[in-house]
Amino acid sequence: MKADAKAMPPSHRAAGIEKSPTGINGFDEVTYGGLPKGRPTLLCGSAGCGKTLFGMTFLYKGAVEFDEPGVFITFEEQPEDLIQNVGSLNYDLQKLIAQKKLAVDHVHVDPTQIAESGDYDLEGLFIRLGHAIDSVGAKRVVIDTIEALFSGLENHALLRSELRRLFEWLKEKDVTAIITAERGDGTLTRYGLEEYVADCVILLDNRVQEQLSTRRMRVIKYRGSAHGSNEYPFIIDEQGITVMPLTSSGLAHQASAERVSSGIPDLDAMLEGKGYFKGSSVLVSGMAGSGKSTVAAHFVDSICASGERCIYFAMEESPPQIIRNMRSIGIDLEKWVGKGLLSFKARRPNLYGLETHLAAMHRDVAEFKPAGIVVDPISALMSAGVTGDVHSMLLRLVDFLKEHLVTALFTDLGGRPAETTGTAMQISSLMDTWLLLYNRESNGEHNRQLYLLKSRGMAHSNQIREFILSADGIKLREAYVGPAGVLTGSARLAQETQDKAAALVREQEIQRRSRDLERKRREITAQIEALRAQLASEVDEETLLNRESVVREEQLATDRVAMGKSRQTAATAAEPALKAVDGSKSRLEKRRSEKQ
């Protein structure tokens, strides 16, 4: 938070008046350094809004942290009560008093005991105050509540002039003073003290809206200094007062390119395989029982597993219950709590107002310095605030988280389909990544589905995936996209079975047809063989024919020679030749008859 003060333009720090830090968390940032040093400050507010505690914190921190002793003049509470009251904050006033770092003086003015006769002044009070200041060397003074004098003394005109003198006197004493005053009807203070204390006026307020009270603080006036002019929520709890300087840092925060795993490998795969951007805001919307907390638990588990810290703001379940439930899906959150990496902050949404919730979250984040936070569910805060406030609150929270590079996961419970929930409509534009979880009813069963509606700055899957809660956490199944749309659950199984059967039939058909083709091919091959055999025999025939014709020609030639010889020789010599001619002739004739 100190960064806020440093981030201010130098003109706000260097110029102007010297300041006295209060030590109140956040207040010194709002006022850029604290209260005007050496001057009185008017602290007004109605009963029970924390004026006394504010003053006491100023003195306690002054004595302990800034080595500036203080004086507390109380008109209403007994010192013993006062010491006891702040004892619950571990402010050990007794010790400070013993160390001469604090003086407490109870000024008791009882109108029933006092009669007035003639002129008087408040020199007695001045002497007491002066003595107290001198006794501890005080640099700080708180007067709580000086207006009690108005009910104790009759002469108001005199009182007013004496108070004016008192404030001047405090300035001369060079002490930084807080004067508390009750808020009046339509005026800052009941007796118009703001007329006298003009340097710095702070208003504390405790408004109740729809039965929820929210404490707010505003610097109405700060002469000679810049200051935040908004109303800042503050909380009073066991750590004292914490003011939240909810100055929206605007849109100047750095954007990190680093990635943070969602803790669900399948979901990371949908986000470019890397997960969310570091410092981004993730909204997980879904109906009851759609698995939002489980997605959140995975995220927590992954952050803690990487050795970073994480805060889980539980709005509806108690931490032991969350731990037990997550164990059933195989996530052991208790171990991270034990290691000090995980901090559960369980607060009912209607415990206090929206601003206070926000303020508390701010403080937790600033203290614990987590790498990631989970708010489960953010929609619960709707009941803690007027609808329009949720947006501005989240805006400030998201800005703050981005500035500190804290990755935030918000779950959003929607009774109706997630797209139309009020919260979702309001805050979705602030979110970098938006996961929708459906719980769709079909065929008599509900099936969980996950859809990544948007994820700024990265390519992401557009598929609706079925997700299954198993003993090993969330598993995303590949979407079944068939002719009948995206199917899940048993419908998906049925469709898958049908598909298998159809595939089998197709397979068999193909086999049958390939067998047919094989058969035909074989037939054709056989035919080719037969024809080839026929062709070969034809060739043989032709060769034989050719050879026979050659033989016959030779025979004829021989016959002619023999003929010629026989005409010249004996008939016996011609006989073998005739036989040979007859033989070849009969064979030739036989062939011819076959062909015919």
Partner: protein
Amino acid sequence: MMDSDGYNLRLYVAGQTPKSIAAIANLKKICEKHLPGRYEIEVVDLIKDPALARRHQIVAIPTLIRQLPEPLKRIIGDLSNVEKVLVGLDIQPS
């Protein structure tokens, strides 16, 4: 000199201011007139002993405290209004 219904009065002042001086004078005059011989006045200057202011719950100056008779009574102012002083101290005018 003190008897059972004697008055023990303590007047707190802060230095020699006109109001203080007037208060002392007024007180003496009233006592002489209404409580002759039955009173004792002690003037305490808080400038000299400021711690007493806290111990005795003094806010306004001058403050007159009737220590005796009981109960304790306080009157603030320069005591110029005699009537109020007599009522405040529960003195029957003589």
